[in-house]
Amino acid sequence: MRWLLLKDLQILRRSPLQAALLVAYPILIAVLVGFAISRDPGEPRVAFLNEVPADSRISVGGEQLPSSNVNARICRKVECVDVADREEAEARVSSGDVLAALILPANLVDQINSLSTLTPGVPEVEVLVNEEDPVKAGLVSDRIDALLAQANLLLARRIAREGSRYLELVIDGGKLSLIGQEFPILGLRASARILAALEPALEPSLRPALRQVTKFAGEARENLDVAGPLLDRLAQPIRVEKVAVGGSAPPLEIFAIAVAATLTLAFVTVLLVAGSLALEREENAFPRLAGRLVSPTALLGEKVLLGVAVGFAVTLLLLGGLAIFVPLQWDRIGLWLVAILVGAGALSAAGAALGAVAREVRAVSLLAFMVTLPIAFLSLVPSGAVGATLYDAIRIVTALFPFKPALQAITGALDSAGDGIGLPLVHLAALAVVYGAIARLALRRFSAV
């Protein structure tokens, strides 16, 4: 078996382009997928036209916010591209230079300020979008909804805070600023105190009526004390408390590394083993070997060993490279090695089964891609992202191929707080046996000349 292994490595060495593609392509794909999963999508570019006069001030409850403050708040969430007028905004959206355009009309501040008056207006902003791409349209819609929700929340909090201040004035008294003048407000608490002090000076027949008024002032104060916090809650009536009840999600960067490592391992092992086995028949060496010199089982064992050795080395190389950018727990390296080795074994067995089905290397390579790539992407579909029936079907399909259990094993090995790797390893071992048996049967079919 070692001579066959040496021969396969010699052939790999003689095909530098093929060997480079075999290693470089999966690593490239893996790193791209890893980054795509782990990285924030970034701030979308949005054209920004602020027609609000520079000296306008948003005034809520006597507190004034400069308009530049509004600009700063908006541009913290998106990459603002200042435009001169509406036409330029439209042109940039149409050309795809920006994802959307946000136009703040000249009367926006006046409309916002009117919210705290007896004749509140409806503040509106204008958003221009290009909906030629449904994915982009969805992204823009979500971003704008989030921006507006944040702006509305900010204003609602300020209005609620102002309402609370008025309530406090009614309860405890104080000074009300209005049109540049201050007016003293007695307040319920002081009113009750004054009425209580007046009671002894009144005729006995009038006292019960005065007690009723004093009692009302007290009850009103107590009830308005409760209304204050209620007003605060109006701004954000529902709060979210997230509790994890199923699974323990690994940190995103660890999951991304596990995905990258598993993708690399899957492509290297499946393609190499399938291609190498098909090559034995394409070169007409299979009848010569399997007829007398090597048993079909030993030939399969050699191919699996080849896949495990090369896949293991490339995956470790990838992890070592990624460790430069993301800290990995090197004290768990024993678990990494076990997860990678067992995963490589099962994936190599799957590659052998594919390689035993077809005769030509090209056909086998295409088949390996057509099986591995969709299975890998299906394995990344989270529960809840699709309908329950479809997800059940995806679970069954992904359970039949070693990618997902290999991903679970490698994720568990990388993440100390994650799930154990025992079950995925058992799953992988079972799949290795099944695919090995399929490969053996398929080879028997091809042993006929």
Binding site: N284, P287, R288, R292, S447
Partner: protein, 236 residues
């Protein structure tokens, strides 16, 4: 080597129907017949690659050298690496010595470092045969060894094979080239539709055409004409 009443079926089709063959040491036997006659199937059974459905083969697997029709070589390895690999797989005690010996035998010692894929078809076939000989077989089975070779390469091939037979190796080869079978085959086995029609020297076949087929003109012309007349007489 003795093979008796070999039967092989592929599904409902009988590829071999009770074919027998014997060959002594140093004998050169040519297996000829039209397409689908069962030539490759017979050689594959003799080589131990295929199991017959019925019949027996009296030859040890280790005594047979198998040279498939299409060269079973690794085109990305060099001539020497191919020979060395198969010598190691054969379990030779001195694989380098064996590879060296085969390089000399097939006349490619000077080109040992060349990648096989860059060699001509004739040279690839010589390595193919050399690998078949690595097991030091008493019986060498060649499946259409001269296909794709030019006349000069073919002549060198048969010179090489004849030398092996002269050294005591039993050689059984299949071919579509009837003239080649007449020239190099000491004995001919004619197969058609899995059935053995004739087993004997080329001159005997001409005689059968003359007597049984009553086609003396065909018997006197080139061997291919005589062979076709014989097949026609036997209903093929």
């Amino acid at each position: 080597m003795r093979a008796r009443a070999l039967v092989k079926r592929y599904g409902g089709r009988e590829a071999l129907r009770g074919v027998s063959l014997s060959a002594d040491a140093g004998e050169l036997v040519a297996v000829i017949g039209p397409n689908g006659a069962g030539k490759t199937t017979l050689l594959s059974i003799l080589a131990g690659i295929l199991e017959p459905d019925a019949g027996t083969v009296d030859v040890e697997a280790g005594e047979v050298g198998w040279v498939p029709q299409q060269a079973g070589l690794y085109r990305r390895l060099t001539v020497e690496e191919n020979l060395l690999l198969f010598a190691r797989l054969e379990g030779h005690e001195d694989p380098r010595g064996s590879a060296e010996q085969m390089l000399e035998l097939c006349g490619l010692a000077e080109r040992r470092g060349e990648v096989v894929g860059r060699l001509s078809g004739g040279n690839q076939q010589r390595i193919n045969i050399a690998i078949g000989l690595l097991s030091r077989p008493r019986v060498l089975l060649l499946d259409e060894p001269s296909v794709g070779l030019d006349p000069r390469q073919r002549a060198r091939l048969w010179e090489f094979v004849s030398a092996l037979a002269d050294g005591g190796t039993t050689v059984v080869f299949s071919t579509h080239d009837i003239q080649e079978a007449e020239r190099y085959g000491g004995r001919l086995l004619v197969l058609a539709d899995g059935e053995s029609l004739f087993d004997g020297p080329a001159e005997e076949l001409r005689g059968a055409v003359r007597r049984e087929a009553q086609a003396p003109e065909a018997a006197e012309r080139d061997f291919e004409t005589a062979f076709v007349a014989y097949l026609h007489h036997r209903g093929h």
